[in-house]
């Protein structure tokens, strides 16, 4: 059997409808693939961003707020931890390292984060260029920062900060000029746009003891426990998996909480999952409707040609031939629509992911993957099965009825 001439003729006869239906199928397939790809891309990127933040210790409050501010650098208010906690963390056994994260001023919208040189090095996996900060007036910028090595800038404060600064007798700190001395490698996190400075500088900006006796210009570890100030978040990296659970328990108390960021992400993903499930079912319903409309539309199209199929039967075509012609015709629409839809999804996904990356700072790559292709294929398979309905309906018509 060779249905190709009949299919070709039907395609030519109703080419506009053919393109229209292929386009609608493509749209429905693209919708599903884009949704899946974006969600997966966002989940992967956000999980990857949290990878290096093993245990977060913060003052009791919302764990989500802590994750959002410390890892994703979203503006927010996280209360200060008791100064003792940082000292404890630095001294605790089985701690590979502990690092403070303190939020300072900003520069042209990029947050200035106070921490330790070793943590910057750990996040970045070695600097891309330059060296790490060695004085309070030096900074290492994220990979995506517009600042270059050797650039100098004065941090901008928020408005309240300005008011406070007016009464601040220690005015010279606020006029501090910072020099960029190093650049991090891309981390795929919002830290790529941040400016990392010694935590001492942030403490000083807030007129707090800076971890070292007055007059001591050194920065970094070790801190003098008598001069350590509070920070909002301490990141603790345990030296083993067993230690991780022990340390998490150890840093829980009345004035502090301690948790794995993954715990928060799981909750967020759970919530997102519910929304995602709802969206997916809406998309699936849309796809099913499109396929039903296609089956109905195909029936309408080939009904316009029912006389032609009746003639073929009179000329000796078996019913199977008619089924094959109609089914193949619809199948071509579905296959074309699916391929086109996945291509559309691939094209649109990178654009959408780039936009989402820009707003979140996460390195989101959201190409339709195996999961999306598989779901598109199963949708197509359902369509191919549905296509048997119009094919069968046309094939069982009596040739005499078709000719009248």
């Amino acid at each position: 059997m060779n249905p190709i001439p009949v299919i070709r003729a039907t395609m030519r006869r109703h080419w506009l409808l053919f393109l229209l239906f292929s386009g609608i199928v493509a749209f429905a397939i693209a919708l599903g693939a884009i949704l899946g790809a974006q969600e997966r891309g966002f989940r992967q990127a956000s999980a990857r961003a949290a990878d290096k933040f093993d245990i977060l210790v913060a003052a009791p409050g919302s764990q989500t707020d802590v994750v959002l501010t410390a890892i994703y650098l979203r503006p927010g208010t996280v209360p200060l931890l008791d100064a003792k906690v940082l000292g404890d963390a630095l001294a605790a056994p089985h701690v590979a390292f502990a690092a403070p994260i303190a939020f300072g001023d900003n520069h042209q919208g990029a947050p200035i984060i106070g921490t330790l040189a070793s943590f910057v090095d750990y996040l970045s996996g070695g600097l891309a260029e330059g060296s790490t900060f060695r004085t309070e007036a030096e900074a290492v910028v994220g990979a995506a920062s517009p600042l270059k090595i050797g650039d100098r800038f004065k941090p901008e404060h928020g408005l309240e900060h300005h008011a406070a600064a007016a009464e601040d007798e220690d005015g010279d700190i606020h006029d501090l000029e910072i020099t960029v001395v190093g650049r991090m490698k891309p981390t795929g996190t919002p830290w790529d746009r941040a400016i990392a400075v010694p935590v001492e500088q942030v403490w000083k900006t807030h007129s707090l003891p800076n971890g070292h006796p007055p007059g001591d210009e050194r920065i970094g570890l070790p801190f003098d426990p008598r001069y350590i100030s509070g920070v909002p978040v301490v990141v603790v990296k345990p030296d083993s998996v067993v230690a991780a659970y022990r340390l998490r328990a150890q840093f829980r108390g009345q004035d502090r909480m301690s948790f794995f960021p993954a715990e928060v992400l799981v909750q967020i993903y759970g919530l997102m999952g519910n929304v995602q499930a709802l969206l997916s079912s809406i998309v699936m319903a849309t796809q099913l409707l499109v396929l039903l409309a296609l089956a109905g539309g195909a029936f309408a199209i080939v009904s316009l040609s029912r006389r032609q199929f009746a003639v073929l039967r009179v000329l000796g075509a078996p019913r199977g031939y008619v089924v094959l012609c109609v089914w193949s015709y619809v199948a071509i629409i579905i296959v074309m629509g699916t391929v086109l839809g996945l291509a559309m999804a691939a094209g649109l996904s990178s654009g959408l992911a780039a936009a989402l990356s820009k707003t979140t700072g996460l390195a989101i790559t959201a190409l339709p993957g195996e999961a999306e292709i598989r779901s598109a294929l199963s949708t197509a398979l359902i369509g191919l099965a549905l296509a048997l309905v119009p094919a069968g309906l046309i094939a069982v018509q009596k040739p005499m009825d078709g000719l009248n």
């Binding site: 059997m1 009949v6 070709r8 003729a9 032609q308 009179v314 000329l315 000796g316 005499m400």
Partner: protein, 230 residues
């Protein structure tokens, strides 16, 4: 090929739900070289008879025997195959596929069984078109004149050199000249090639040239004796 039909009866249900007899023919015989014209007013059952003889009416009562083949006893697909190989159909409105070329239309019946037609079959199709003076250079059958289209339809009916030609008002939508050509063609297929040609027609010039005439009225033969003569 020898036709022998007995006690043909077809009933249909009309719009009001009542059964009526569309065809009631006790006996019909014809053979090689015969040309038979079926005439009668509209609705008298001419087309129905043609389709019944081709095995296209599922709820046919009675027997249709072509040589030894009891057509209605064959399963559906075997009947389709029998029709493809033994009966060539020509319609009033030709029923070509307008979007295909003349040669593709002629080869259409070959597509029902095979994926690609043999070189012999293609050569035969081209020959037929040539003999019937169809300009094969046309890309689309819709570009042909009506007379040419009917001749393509006849070439399609002759592709497998079937012993039986069934035609349903083959000259009705043609002008006088083209109708004359087609009438000559069909009657010569019987006279020269020994085919059995059965044609429904209102066209007196075609009817006259046929060897026998079968007049139907309300599904019954008007002249009983004609059938017996055949």
């Amino acid at each position: 090929m020898q036709l022998r039909a007995d006690s043909l009866r077809i009933t249909f249900v009309d719009a009001a739900g009542a059964r009526f007899t569309a065809l009631d023919i006790p006996r019909l015989e014809a053979g090689c070289g015969d040309s038979l014209a079926i005439t009668g007013p509209s609705g008298s059952g001419k087309s129905t008879l043609l389709y019944a003889l081709a095995g296209l009416v599922d709820d046919l009562e009675g027997n249709v025997a072509w040589d030894e083949t009891m057509l209605m006893r064959l399963p559906q697909t075997a009947r389709d195959r029998w029709r493809r190989e033994n009966a060539g159909f020509v319609f009033q409105d030709f029923h070509l596929i307008a979007e295909l070329s003349p040669i593709e239309n002629v080869l259409m019946p070959a597509r029902f069984a095979l994926f690609s037609a043999s070189a012999d079959l293609k050569a035969r199709a081209l020959n037929l078109l040539d003999e019937l003076r169809v300009p094969i250079a046309r890309k689309l059958s819709s570009q042909l004149s009506r007379g040419e289209q009917q001749r393509v339809a006849i070439a399609r009916a002759l592709l497998f050199d079937p012993p039986i030609i069934l035609a349903d008002e083959p000259t009705a939508s043609l002008d006088a000249e083209a109708a004359n050509d087609v009438s000559t063609l069909l009657t010569e297929l019987a006279a020269r090639s020994g085919k059995l040609v059965i044609t429904v027609s209102h066209d007196e010039r075609l009817i006259e040239r046929c060897g026998a005439r079968l007049a139907l009225e309300h599904g019954r033969l008007k002249q009983h004796d004609v059938a017996a003569v055949l």
